[in-house]
Symmetry: C2
Subunit: 136 residues, 2 copies
């Protein structure tokens, strides 16, 4: 199946598989009424996107029960081909002790040198993906 | 200079230089009141981000005088280092004949197989960039 732009529409299953193929994504949120985007490394756990950050970060402030988008992609400029997957869903700061303890056990350390005391979880409510095949 | 997350703050000049180093960025907009993001190839021209798209695309509809974000980045997962630059500004559909004629002369063809009859220009109003140095 192709969309109106000629891109292949990826199945939900394929989107969920591709998300786990890359360590870095981009979270899209609103910061003082302006669109904001920040690259973050992440892991999938129990079907949710898990991000670590510090308590004082913009991201932590913005992620309090907000609807956010989370994007991962992989493109090869040499052949002008690749794919992207976008998740839209509610983000929440994880605060329950049992869940925090579980998340601290994940092999997830932020690449940034900041503190890592907060976990943000995004529950996917919409998942969409597109593949741009190599040009003929 | 470093931000509270320990990332190096890039100068305006360095941000503008880095933007021209990669052919692919991501435009962040609002689609039916939800955060949306789409990878696009682009060029810088006269200090503006130039994107081609088709007239019927979500992007063309969303970009009509909206404030959007545009992000480019380059990270190497092997060393967990890289940089990102984010532009925030008004997007507009280019409609003036002289400008259209100039933009059609740019070496810019969308990677997607869709029609390319519309040009979107984003005028940077805010530019910010961060570098994540290789961990010691």
């Amino acid at each position: 199946m192709y969309d109106s732009g000629g891109l292949e529409i990826l199945s939900d299953e394929e989107c969920r598989r591709l998300i786990t193929a890359v360590p870095l994504g981009r979270i899209v949120f609103t910061d003082r009424a302006l669109p904001a985007i920040q690259p973050v490394n992440f892991l999938m756990s129990n079907g949710e996107v898990i991000i670590r950050t510090s308590s004082g970060s913009k991201l932590a402030a913005a992620a309090r029960n907000a609807v956010v988008a989370f994007e991962v992609d992989e493109f090869d400029p040499a052949i002008q081909a690749g794919w992207s997957v976008v998740i839209v869903g509610h983000a929440r700061i994880v605060s329950e002790n049992g869940e925090l303890s579980e998340l601290r056990g994940l092999p997830l350390r932020t690449w940034a040198p900041s503190a890592q005391d907060h976990f943000i979880a995004i529950t996917p409510e919409l998942i969409s993906g597109r593949r741009l095949p190599k040009a003929a």
